[in-house]
């Protein structure tokens, strides 16, 4: 996928002025957060489950080499194959090789963000294999030559009329205007693809070393048809998506659907363990798992390690005030929202993705809803530090921070400077106590007034507080 993250600021500006997008984003705000809150309200143990989930995931990372090797040998015991891919290119080539080995012309696909990450569709098309997305949202996007703007609701940036238009154009049918009619049309069209496909490719929400299984969690049933009907099932997943046992899976099932869509349980939670077994009348004859690294192994032991706990539920973006204003495309690559602002710089480089960790108010909502308690603001802050150290942030910002740091180390000057600034601002603000414009603060005052400082300063209050403490 083309990288548009360097243009984040322009993307955001355009997104804010896009009435169609703003209307569509209204559906997100009205939906997921309320549904999540309601579902969690019905499960009093939810926070305790989050604590355990965090512990399990930390344990997995501490022993990731062991779990990967165990998973591999269990898959092989089940009659499946495991392929290791360090990079996107490795992963795509491996998948293509499998497709070509069975002479595949068309492949059906279940929804998978890892395949977006590695750019699989473009790669297959270049090599004369036609991928067909079967998740309704992904299918709509494929027809539009568009990309997901959300990791679980890929077409959330579109409205009914967008879907209506593209279906009429691509299917050559009369335009339909009801969601159920459009869904029925997609169902009918995709049925033929499901049956005709030579290979089915899905992602995996989790893999389980105990049994050598992969799990997909879906609502539509397209992923299940994708992996059941063709001769070959390829699972593309990333190395960190491990839950050691089926008992652990139970816990994560309880967390994932509630955190994601606010459902008590997603419609289809499907455990796949190898190819069809002796006597089975259906199911794939070959089962392949492609384990994608793409930089993840180098996150072990570094500042970003906590991010390897992520289960891709999307709660962070569903609750993010920035995401909900600008949508996912503005972030300019595969993973949007707070989790994307942490992951994207790792995958495409901080020089290209530098704006993303800065696109946060640090309100902390993302961390507060994360089912595995990833300290997302802390990780974004760590990127800001890296950026500062590598001088990848704008020079003016670095100068300002440098100036402030110098001042903060000279308390007398700081005190003098701040008292002058406070006085000046009070005078400028006049009777109303509000500043309508500020020479260096246009970004703020263009949209709202800045209240002038009132009462005593923090340092004065601190002094008073300390004095009181001494007396008591």
């Amino acid at each position: 996928m083309q990288i548009n993250s360097p243009k984040f600021k322009d993307n955001a500006r355009i997104a804010l002025a896009d009435a169609n997008l703003q209307q569509a984003l209204g559906n997100l705000k009205a939906g997921f957060p309320g549904k999540r809150a309601a579902a969690i309200g019905r499960l009093p143990e939810f926070d305790a489950l989050r604590d355990q989930a965090q512990d399990i995931k930390n344990h997995v990372i501490e022993n990731l080499d062991f779990y990967l090797e165990t998973f591999e040998s269990k898959v092989q015991d089940n009659g499946g194959h495991v392929h290791w891919a360090s990079s996107s290119e490795d992963a795509c080539q491996t998948i293509l090789d499998i497709c070509q080995s069975v002479g595949a012309r068309t492949v059906t696909k279940g929804k998978s963000m890892v395949t977006e990450e590695i750019g699989l569709n473009d790669f297959l098309e270049k090599h004369s294999v036609t991928p067909v997305e079967t998740d309704l949202g992904e299918y709509i996007l494929q027809l539009r030559e568009d990309h997901p703007s959300h990791i679980i609701a890929p077409a959330i940036h579109l409205n009914l009329s967008d879907v209506s238009e593209i279906f009429a154009e691509k299917h050559g049918t009369e335009a339909k205007h009801q969601p159920e009619e459009l869904m029925q049309e997609a169902r009918d069209v995709l049925r033929d693809h499901f049956v005709a496909a030579d290979v089915g490719i899905t992602g995996a929400n989790f893999y389980v070393p105990e049994t050598g299984s992969t799990i997909i969690v879906t609502n539509e049933g397209n992923g299940d048809l994708t992996q059941t009907l063709p001769k070959v099932h390829i699972v593309v997943t990333s190395i960190e998506k491990c839950v050691p046992t089926l008992e652990d899976l139970s816990l994560f099932m309880r967390l994932l659907s509630r955190s994601a869509t606010g459902q008590e349980c997603t419609v289809y939670n499907t455990l796949s363990s190898g190819p069809r077994q002796p006597g089975d009348q259906d199911g794939p004859e070959q089962f392949h798992v492609v384990l994608v690294d793409n930089g993840r192994s180098s996150m072990v032991g570094d500042d970003l390690q906590d991010m390897l706990r992520c289960i891709r539920c999307s709660a962070c973006m569903n609750h993010c005030p920035v995401y909900s204003q600008i949508g996912g495309h503005a972030y300019g690559w595969v993973y949007p929202g707070p989790m994307g602002s942490v992951l994207t710089p790792k995958m495409i480089g901080i020089h290209d993705a530098g704006h993303l960790p800065n696109a946060s108010t640090f309100c902390g909502k993302c961390e507060s809803v994360c089912p595995v308690r990833i300290p997302l603001p802390k990780l974004m802050r760590s990127w800001r530090e890296t950026q500062h150290q590598q001088q990848a942030s704008p020079a003016i910002g670095r100068m300002a921070i440098g100036g402030w740091a110098w001042l903060a180390r000279h308390p007398r000057l700081y005190k003098l400077g701040s008292s002058i600034a406070i006085k000046a601002m009070s005078i400028m603000a006049g009777n109303k106590g509000r500043l309508k414009s500020l020479p260096v603060g246009r970004g703020w005052t263009l949209w709202r007034d800045l209240p002038a400082p009132q009462g005593s300063s923090f340092q004065q209050q601190w002094k008073q507080q300390q004095n009181k403490g001494d007396k008591s």
Partner: protein, 221 residues
């Protein structure tokens, strides 16, 4: 495994170990982790998932209904063919596709005037009938295993999926389901199914019947 896969494997595992600041785990530590996997311990099981008996059955019915599954109570298995006739539209000659289990195949389909077929599901099938290994109370979820007599496509392709659930097979939580799965050889597929297929991909408006069955009917005896 190809050479490059071998090389990648080595590279990935080395980088992980480097990040963790250690070599491969000692044999003793590996043994410890292995046995933790072969005798898996339950995590916190929510109170709701510990329901038993009638409380579990009531919860299963409430939760499955909430997920838009339909529940029909039967006095006996023999009533099933008669019940299914109401699902077949007048003049529709498509057969009912049933799992090859004697409890289902032995029923008197002829008297109910229903043509049956025992095979995998195909595009265009209207109704399938299967059993299941359990119904999980905590979320109204059915648990189905693939096998020679229970092809997975029956759970997915037809427009209407009918499932026979015995009340004694209703269990509290997911953990109880895995206990049942572990009693036999692990099948290719275990399906946890909660209600009919759905999608909200168009404007976040919930629609039933995306790619899987449009109706999920549970016959409880």
């Amino acid at each position: 495994m190809s050479t490059s896969s071998q090389q990648n494997r080595h590279q990935i595992l080395s980088r992980i170990r480097q990040g963790l600041g250690r070599e491969a785990l000692s044999a003793a530590k590996q043994q410890q982790l292995q046995s933790a996997m072969t005798q898996p311990q339950r995590n916190l099981v929510p109170q709701r998932a510990q329901a038993q008996g009638q409380a579990a059955i009531d919860m299963f019915i409430a939760m499955a209904t909430e997920a838009a599954a339909e529940i029909t109570h039967l006095e006996s298995l023999e009533q099933l063919p008669e019940q299914l006739t109401s699902l077949i539209p007048e003049g529709d000659t498509r057969p009912l596709v049933i799992a090859s289990e004697t409890q289902l195949t032995n029923l008197d389909w002829q008297s109910a005037n229903i043509e049956t077929a025992q095979r995998v599901a195909q595009k265009g099938d209207l109704i399938s009938l299967t059993s299941c290994i359990a119904g999980v109370a905590e979320t109204g979820t059915l648990v189905l295993k693939s096998g020679p007599n229970s092809p997975t496509t029956l759970n997915l392709l037809p427009d209407i999926h009918c499932v026979l659930l015995r009340k004694e097979d209703v269990i509290g939580g997911y953990e109880d389901a895995w206990d049942l799965v572990r009693q036999a050889k692990l099948p290719r597929t275990v399906n946890f199914i909660t209600g009919p297929s759905r999608s909200a991909d168009i404007e976040q408006k919930l629609q039933m019947g995306a790619h899987g069955p449009k109706r999920l009917i549970i016959y409880m005896i």
